[in-house]
Subunit: 435 residues, 2 copies
């Protein structure tokens, strides 16, 4: 294979036997693979052995490295952007044609000049990872960084984040930080197979527009409303879920209303559910409760499940478990063949473990009191998690057991702390990812 | 507490301190609980200590027990109905006011007289259980019963089944029985909190109407299309999922089209996707491959997941695992902190285990070749399960490892055998449970 003098970030043509592909050369973690980013935003890898040659088309323009803060306009609100990695960072990085570990405010304003028209930007990369690998350690770093920015008096904070666990991070941050009196808006960017354009810039602009004009406090997400580039939606931090692997409108409020719509490019904000927390209603001090237990599991039930699965968690010293059951909150624990599962769950709880049950249906709510089988689970202490879906319930229990005793955590799991449990069945009219 | 002379099935008033509730007395598995079925279809239980008295309102009318086959009209097609339990059986049972372990053809025709107008019914109760407790044993009994009915030359078969695992059963039966040349339609009934009427009768009638008029072969589901009582939908056996805990239109085709709509009460069938298997295209003999491995697990990934979870499955001798990952097929296996998970998964596979990965998004498809992290999973042998959701992939792998060697099973997991993998990305326009 011929490999011309090309560097990461350069525009290249990868020549294969029967055709060639153009794009920007990406860093590859695998020495057998040549990776490029196509113009439609996709990364594609080629085995070295299939590549005849790599031709340079044009060298990357490297943005000059400058200070991290652009000159501020004191009449405009200041928004902090914290980058944590993921596709949104990758899109931004590669738009400049270079690999930048830190995205400066200058880089950002250069790439998304609309931002400077209505706000001052402070930009910081706090870490850089694919979101599927986020762990309690990173949540701690992120929570600390949010609190630090909030104490500076910014109008709001945008978190750039990978989409895989975007709404899990928004949920756990909702629990960790109490009395936020500014909006913290998580923004990601989806790969889009059907459109050439990236959604990163528009999602960022809409998040910033919402923050600049809003009286909201608390944690939200801002992502595309549909496949058009005409609006984004502001979604609730604890009740949003990624519901499509690749579409830009993958994020949907589950058992909840959408908070607001931000029209693009006008930036006009339409409030859709006025029930959000208003900044001026937050009177108490910002409070960070950063504990997160690493002894909590998320366990999905299935047909033919064995009791030794539960025994593993008991014997390994786990303190909590969210059980993703079926329907209205059932688990395979009621037939003669499944009695062992019931007893194993009971042993986990008798040993001091906290168990919450959710539904694989996602939409709707689990109920303890309708069937004798669900009552039987309630009897040994299983907490029915109302209309929380599994991921939010898991993040909540991880946080509860990191900061409270097991009996307190058990009690609080069933209570609505941050909007994670709908007080009324608002969702019954709203059964659709399109809501 | 006063407990008048009341029997299960009688209409009673349960008098509490501050109000009373009317309904049919249900059998209770818990001697501390009095359970009644309200007129809206809900079962409600009361602790004995809260009940002042139970008053008899009217005695149950017990349907006379007769033969299991009503006189046949030789001009009409014959449809077999196999009952397996669940709410649909419970609704039928309690509509007559009595507990009947077996639902005879007479009972059924008495309760749903519309059926006799266009078909002969043969009714059989093959077992009676809540569907969350279904296990490989019951799938075997059900598959045998379906094959026995099919060999009698009926026009089609209806399976009455609990809704929690309705679509998991339809999936596993799709795999177990090859070359079905008649339609087998799974029917359940949801509790409906918003409407008083039961959906059992309408779902049954629409399924029977579809069978009577259809040239389809293979496995389907028939459930309400929306909250109105104006239509049911015929859904594909391997690509349907329960997406709401309680609504009657809870069942949605995921990454797939709806096969047909059956208007109610006219019974008119509108074909929505003509791509279904036609009965006259099935030339080969019916074939039952009944093996189901009980050494397969369904494992949902989560943040902070530990490698010892995977070790448990390896050390317990599991042969297969479906990993419900995030996004496009990611698992927490790529950071330094998660390298242990990668190695533990590799050990499971190196020991001969088959691992398939799906996405918690449900909608869309997993891809091996877009990210270096997904390529890295592919490299150790993880199978990317395309647009199969977790439950169907799990049922498929359980069946594959019950009938084929691990290398064969691994290969077949990625192939479309029964419509479980969409050949084209038809779903990209169809991203909604409302499709």
């Amino acid at each position: 294979m011929e490999f011309g003098k090309v560097d990461v970030g350069d525009r290249v043509s990868v020549v294969l036997k029967d055709h060639s592909e153009e794009g920007r050369l990406m860093p590859s973690t695998d020495s057998d693979i040549i990776m490029i980013k196509l113009d439609n935003g996709y990364n594609v890898g080629f085995e070295n052995c299939d590549v005849l040659k790599v031709e340079l088309l044009s060298k990357a323009k490297h943005a000059p490295k400058e200070e991290n803060v652009v000159s501020k306009n004191s009449k405009l609100p200041t928004i902090a952007i914290l980058h944590t990695g993921g596709t949104i960072a990758s899109k931004i990085d590669y738009k400049t044609g270079g690999v930048v570990a830190k995205i400066s405010a200058n880089d950002l304003v250069e790439m998304v000049p609309e931002l400077a028209e209505f706000c001052n930007i402070e930009s910081k990369t706090i870490f850089n990872m694919m979101s599927e690998d986020m762990s309690p350690h990173e949540y701690g770093v992120l929570a600390d960084a949010i609190c630090a920015e909030a104490s500076k008096g910014v109008k709001g904070i945008i978190i750039g984040h990978g989409t895989d666990t975007l709404s899990m991070s928004s949920a756990v941050i909702s629990f960790m930080i109490k009395n936020l009196n500014i909006p913290v808006v998580f923004v990601g960017s989806q790969r889009s197979s059907d459109r050439g354009s990236s959604d990163a810039a528009m999602n960022l602009i809409c998040a910033a527009k919402f923050i600049a004009s809003s009286d909201a406090a608390g944690v939200y997400l801002c992502m595309h409303e549909n496949s058009d580039d005409t609006s984004c939606v502001i979604l609730p931090g604890t009740k949003t879920r990624k519901m499509h692997t690749s579409r830009r409108d993958a994020f949907k409020a589950i058992n909840s209303k959408i908070v607001a719509r931000v029209l693009y490019p006008s930036g006009e904000v339409e409030i859709l559910d006025n029930d959000y927390v208003k900044a001026d209603s937050v009177k108490e001090e910002l409070e960070l409760k950063g504990g997160l237990s690493s002894e909590v599991a998320l366990v999905k039930t299935y047909t033919g499940m064995k009791s030794s699965v539960f025994d593993y968690y008991t014997d390994s010293g786990y303190k909590g478990m969210i059980l993703e059951g079926t329907g209205i909150g059932h688990a395979p624990t009621n037939s003669a063949a499944n009695e062992g599962n019931y007893l194993a769950l009971k042993r986990f709880i008798d040993n001091g473990g906290v168990v919450g049950i959710t539904s694989s249906c996602l939409y709707g709510t689990v109920h303890e009191h309708i069937y004798s089988n669900t009552r039987r689970l309630g009897k040994i202490g299983v907490v029915f998690c109302s209309d929380m879906f599994s991921e939010t319930a898991f993040m909540k229990l991880m946080w509860l057991l990191g900061n409270y005793s097991a009996p307190e955590a058990k009690k609080m799991l069933a209570l609505n702390l941050r909007g994670e449990i709908s007080s009324k069945l608002a969702y019954s009219e709203k059964f659709s990812p399109d809501n």
